[in-house]
Amino acid sequence: MDTSIILQMVVSGAFMGLVYALIAYGFQLTFATSKSINFGQGELVMLSAFFSLTLLNLGLPYWLMVPGGLLFGAALGLVVERAGVRLALEQKSEGWILLTIILGLLGFSAAENIWGRDDRPFPTPISADALHVFGINITPLEISVAIGVFLVMGAVELFKRKTLMGKAFEAVSADRDAAELMGISATRTIMLSYGLSGMVAAMAGILISPITTVGPTMASALILKAFAVAVVAGLDSGFGVVLIGIFLGALESLTSFYLGSGWREAPGLVLLILALAVRPNGVFGKSTMRKV
C-alpha cells in the first residue's frame, strides 16, 4: 500500500475535521451556559453560507462579506434562543430539543424556496491550486480553513477570558445559580452564548462553502459529524474537539477510501453511539455525580 496516498487521505480528512470541530465548539458554547444545544445548527451553517453568497453576489468584497455573514449567523442564533430555547429552559423541560429541530426545518424550507435546491459554487480569493509539501498536496484553501478555525476559536476564548462579559459567561457556565445571586443575568448570558454559537456556525459555513459548494443539504451530513465530535470529545471539554475533529476527519476519509464513499458517514455515527455507551461525558469530559 502506498503510504503517501494514506497520508494524503489523513491530511485532507484532518482539514475537514477542523470544520467539524468548529461547529462542535459552537455546541459547547451554548451547552456550557444552558445545558442545551441547537439541533438545527446545520441549517444555521447553511443559511449563513447562502446569505454570505448573496452578499458576494451583490458586489461586496470578500473581506467585507465575512463580518456581514458572521453578524447574520449571530442574529439567527439569537432568534433560535428566543423562539426555541428560552421558554423550555424556564419550564425546565427538554422541549428545546423539539423546538430547535422545528426551527431548523423552517430554515431549511425557507432556503429551499428562496435560494433554490441546487448546489452553487462559492467564490473565494484564496487559491485552490495544490502546493506540494513532503509529497502531499495541500491547497491554500485548506490552510485558510485551519487558520479561520483557530482564529475564531482563539478570539472567542480570548473574549471569555479577558472581558467582563466573558467572565460573566464563565461564571454562568460554572454555576448558574451562584452567578445569578451575584447579579449576573443568566438569560442574557445564554443569549450571548447563542449569538456566539451562531457566529461560529456562520464562520464554519463561510470556510467550508468554497470546498463543498452551497446548497440546502450542504450541512445535513456535516452536522451529524459535528454532533459526533462534540459528544465524543465531551460537551464541556474545551479544546478536546480539535483533536477529536482531526481524528474523525482522517478516519472517515480513510473509511470512504477503503469501503466506498457511501460509508463515509458511518464512523462518526458509530463513534457517537459508542461514546455515549461507554463514556457519556466524552473522552475529555469530566464525569458528573448523581446528586439528590
Binding site: 428560552r86 421558554l87 422541549g95 423539539l98 423552517l106 454532533f227 457517537l272 439528590v292
Partner: protein
C-alpha cells in the same frame, strides 16, 4: 443547598395562591368558561348520596369504551360501503401509521424522551419483511413476525447504550442510529438493492390472495390488537413505571422499580411496533427505497404524536389521521387556508383569554399567533404550498409545542370529561393498614450495622470511618451540623454512592453497594431531602408505583387486561398508606399540585409502600411550617407503632428529642457522640460542634437552622 428548601416552600405557596386567584377571576369574568365552573358545580352536588355511582360508571363506560367501540366498528365497516381504491389506500395507511405512532408515543410520551429513530425502525421492519419474502420466501405472517422481532431486538440493542442517557444525548443517539440505518440500507446492496430499491410481491395469507380490501382488514386487525394490548399495558404498573422514570429516574430506582429495565423495555416495545408497522408498510407499497425512511419522515411522525397529543392512544390515532391527510391538505388550497385561518383564530382566542385573566401576554400566547399569522399570510403570498411543505409542518408543530403542549386530544379529553362530568372511576375502600404495611415484631437485635464506613470525594472526606448500629424497631436519629456527612452517609447506605471503603450489613448480610435499585430490593426505602416525587402522577399512583409484593401477573396476562384484581388491590393498599399520612382525600391530585407539606408526606407514604425493613427519612421536616411539623411527628409515631425501624436525619432538635430512641451525632464525617437525645444534648463535644463554643446550658431545642 439546605437553604433552598424554605424558599421553595414559599414559592410553592405563592403559586397556589396565584392559581386560586386565577380560577376565581375567570369564573367571574367568563361565566361561559365551562372548564372552570363545572367542577365547582359538581362539587356542590354530591351524586353518590343518591346512588349515582352506577350512573357515573355507566356514563364513563359509554364515553370511554363506547368511543373506542364506535371508532373500531366504523373503521372495520368502512370498506363495506366504500370501494374507492384511493380512500381504501388512505385507510390502510392510517392503520399502519396508527401502529407506528402508538409505538412512538411510548418513548416520546410515556418515557418522555425525544426519539428520532422511529422512522428508521419503520424502514428496518419494512426491509426485514421485504427480504424475508423475496430472499427467503417466507409467508406474510412470519415475515411480519420477523419485522416485529427486528424492531424489538434492534430497539433493545440501541436502548442499552442509550440507557444511561437523557435528553439531548438520547436524542443524538437515536439520530445517529437512524442515519446509520439509512447508510446500511443504501450501501448493503446485495441484500437491500441499495438506492435502486427493493420490489416485492404481497405473499398469500393462508393461501388467499390479498386484494386491497382484505389487506386493509389485516392492517386494521393489527391496529385494533395493538390498541387493546397497549391500552392494558399502559394502564398497568408498566405504564406507571414508564411515567415514573420520566419524572425521576433516581426515585424510580430508589423505589425498587428499576429504571434500566423499564427504559429498555419501553424503547424496545415502541421500536417493535415500528418494525411491525414497517412490515405492513412493505406489503402495502410493495416497493421500498432507503430514502423513504429518513429524517424528513421522522419530523412528520413527531408532528403526528405531538399534535395529536402525547400519552394517549387517541392522540396517536388522531396524529395518524393528520399524517395521512396532510398531502391532501396541502394540495387543496381552500382547505389549507381554512385550516390555517382556524389555527390563527384559536391562537388569538387563547391569547385573549390569557390576557383578560392576567393582563399579561406570555410567550406561549404570542408565539403561536405569530407562527399561525405567518402561515396565513404566507399561504396567500406563495404560489405553490407544496413547495413549502416543511415550513408549514414547522409552523404548525411550533404552535402546538409552544401553545398546546397536551396536543389536540389531550385538550379535547380534558374538555369533554369536564363538559359531561365524567368523574374518574371510583376507588375501592382502603385496605386495612395491617395488609398494606404488616406490623413487625422485634427483639431489638441489630438491623443495620455500619463498619468503618468511608466515602471520599477527591480530597474531601465526607464520611470518614463511621461505625454505628441501628437496632430493629427503633427510631435512630442522625444529626450533625451542615457538612458533617449525614446526607452522604445516607446516600452511601441507600446505594446512590458506592463507599470508598467499609462494610454495611443489613440483618448480618452485606448490603449491595452503589446501586439504589439493588438496595431498595433488599428492603431499604428512603425519602429525599430535595423532593423526588413523580410529579405528573397522582398521589395514589405515586404510592402504587412503589408497592411491593402486589404485582404478580405475568406480562402476557397484563397485556390481555387480566390484571384488574391486582390493580384493585394495589389501589386499596395505596389508599391505606395515603390514609396513614392523611392524604386519602387528595388521592387523585397530581403530586406537583399538592402543597409542599403534602408532598413531603407523600414521599413517606411512597417509601412505606416498599414494606421496608429499614426506612430512611432524609430531613423530612425541612421547610415545613410548624403545624405540618406536628403532623409529621404524629405520622412518624404511627409508623413506629407498625414496628418500623427508622433512620431519621433531622435539624429540628425538638422533633429529634420527641421521636428518637438513640441519636448518633456526626461532625467532619466522624461520629462524635451517641446516646439518648438528652444525653447527646448535654455532650460538650456536640455543643462545640454546633455552636463552636463550650456552653453550660446544653443545646436549645431549636438547633441553629441553616440560613
Amino acid at each position: 443547598m439546605d437553604f433552598v428548601i424554605p424558599a421553595q416552600a414559599g414559592i410553592q405557596r405563592q403559586k397556589q395562591f396565584r392559581e386560586a386567584d386565577k380560577t376565581k377571576f375567570s369564573f367571574h369574568l367568563h361565566g361561559t368558561y365551562l372548564i372552570v365552573w363545572i367542577p365547582a358545580y359538581a362539587g356542590m352536588t354530591d351524586f353518590s348520596k343518591y346512588g349515582m355511582g352506577i350512573y357515573d360508571m355507566l356514563k364513563r363506560f359509554l364515553f370511554i369504551r363506547g368511543a373506542e367501540i364506535i371508532a373500531l366498528l366504523s373503521l372495520a365497516s368502512i370498506p363495506l360501503f366504500v370501494s374507492n381504491s384511493y380512500a381504501l389506500g388512505l385507510l390502510t395507511l392510517l392503520a399502519i401509521y396508527g401502529i407506528l405512532l402508538i409505538g412512538l408515543d411510548v418513548t416520546v410520551g410515556y418515557l418522555g424522551q425525544v426519539n428520532l429513530a422511529q422512522a428508521a425502525f419503520l424502514g428496518l421492519g419494512a426491509y426485514a419483511a421485504g427480504i424475508c419474502v423475496t430472499t427467503f420466501g417466507l409467508g406474510m405472517l412470519s415475515a411480519l413476525g420477523v419485522s416485529l422481532l427486528v424492531g424489538l431486538l434492534l430497539g433493545g440493542l440501541l436502548a442499552f447504550p442509550a440507557l444511561r442517557l437523557d435528553g439531548p444525548q438520547f436524542a443524538l443517539a437515536t439520530l445517529s442510529f437512524s442515519a446509520l440505518a439509512t447508510t446500511v440500507l443504501n450501501e448493503w446492496e446485495g441484500l437491500t438493492g441499495g438506492a435502486q430499491g427493493l420490489s416485492l410481491d404481497r405473499p398469500l395469507l393462508f393461501g388467499i390472495l390479498m386484494d386491497a380490501k382484505a389487506f386493509y382488514w389485516l392492517c386494521f386487525i393489527f391496529l385494533a390488537l395493538v390498541w387493546l394490548l397497549m391500552r392494558n399495558l399502559l394502564a398497568s404498573q408498566w405504564g406507571r413505571a414508564f411515567e415514573a422514570l420520566r419524572d425521576s429516574a433516581i426515585a424510580t430506582d430508589a423505589m425498587g422499580v428499576g429504571t434500566y429495565r423499564h427504559k429498555v423495555a419501553g424503547f424496545a416495545l415502541g421500536s417493535a411496533l415500528g418494525g411491525l408497522a414497517g412490515g405492513l408498510y412493505a406489503f402495502n407499497f410493495q416497493y421500498l427505497q432507503p430514502q423513504s425512511f429518513t429524517y424528513d419522515l421522522m419530523v412528520i411522525l413527531l408532528l403526528g404524536v405531538v399534535l395529536g397529543g402525547r400519552k394517549s392512544l387517541w392522540g396517536a390515532f388522531f396524529g395518524a389521521c393528520l399524517i395521512v391527510l396532510l398531502p391532501n391538505l396541502l394540495s387543496n388550497r381552500l382547505l389549507f387556508e381554512l385550516i390555517s385561518a382556524g389555527g390563527l383564530l384559536v391562537a388569538i382566542a387563547a391569547a385573549w383569554r390569557g390576557w383578560s385573566s392576567s393582563k399579561r401576554l406570555t410567550f406561549q400566547a404570542v408565539a403561536p399567533i405569530i407562527a399561525m399569522g405567518i402561515l396565513v399570510v404566507g399561504g396567500y403570498l406563495v404560489e405553490n404550498t407544496e413547495n413549502w411543505r416543511k415550513a408549514i409542518f414547522a409552523l404548525m408543530l411550533f404552535s402546538v409545542v409552544v401553545g398546546l403542549p397536551d396536543g389536540v386530544m389531550g385538550f379535547a379529553a380534558r374538555f369533554l370529561s369536564q363538559l359531561f362530568r365524567i368523574s374518574p372511576s371510583e376507588l375501592p375502600p382502603a385496605s386495612k393498614l395491617e395488609d398494606a404495611l404488616p406490623t413487625r415484631q422485634h427483639s431489638g437485635n441489630t438491623l443495620l450495622e455500619l463498619q468503618n464506613l468511608k466515602r471520599y470525594f477527591g480530597g474531601v472526606k465526607a464520611v470518614d470511618g463511621v461505625s454505628m448500629k441501628v437496632r430493629a424497631g427503633q427510631i435512630h436519629g442522625l444529626i450533625g451540623p451542615n457538612g458533617s456527612g449525614k446526607s452522604t452517609a445516607v446516600n452511601v447506605i441507600s446505594g446512590l454512592y458506592a463507599p470508598t471503603s467499609g462494610e454495611i450489613l443489613l440483618q448480618g448480610k452485606a448490603l449491595p453497594q452503589g446501586s439504589l435499585f439493588k438496595v431498595a430490593r433488599v428492603g431499604v426505602a428512603r425519602t429525599f431531602q430535595n423532593l423526588q416525587l413523580f410529579a405528573e402522577l397522582t398521589a395514589l399512583e405515586n404510592v402504587m408505583v412503589a408497592l411491593r409484593e402486589v404485582y404478580h401477573t405475568p406480562l402476557p396476562l397484563v397485556l390481555l387486561g387480566l390484571a384488574g384484581k391486582e390493580e384493585q388491590r394495589a389501589q386499596a393498599d395505596a389508599l391505606a398508606l395515603l390514609k396513614l399520612v392523611g392524604l386519602e382525600a387528595q388521592a387523585r391530585s397530581r403530586a406537583k399540585d399538592l402543597t409542599y407539606g403534602a408532598q413531603r408526606f407523600l414521599e413517606i407514604a411512597r417509601a412505606l409502600a416498599r414494606k421496608p425493613a429499614l426506612l430512611i427519612l432524609d430531613e423530612p421536616a425541612a421547610g415545613l411550617a410548624h403545624p405540618d411539623v406536628t403532623v409529621l411527628v404524629n405520622i412518624i409515631k404511627s409508623i413506629r407503632e407498625c414496628g418500623m425501624t427508622v433512620i431519621l436525619i433531622e435539624h429540628h432538635m425538638d422533633v429529634v428529642s420527641e421521636l428518637c430512641d438513640v441519636v448518633t451525632v456526626l461532625d467532619g464525617g466522624q461520629v462524635i457522640a451517641e446516646g439518648t437525645p438528652s444525653e447527646v444534648k448535654r455532650n460538650p463535644k456536640v455543643i462545640k460542634a454546633y455552636l463552636g463554643v463550650e456552653s453550660e446550658a446544653g443545646l436549645p431545642d431549636a438547633m441553629p437552622q441553616p440560613a
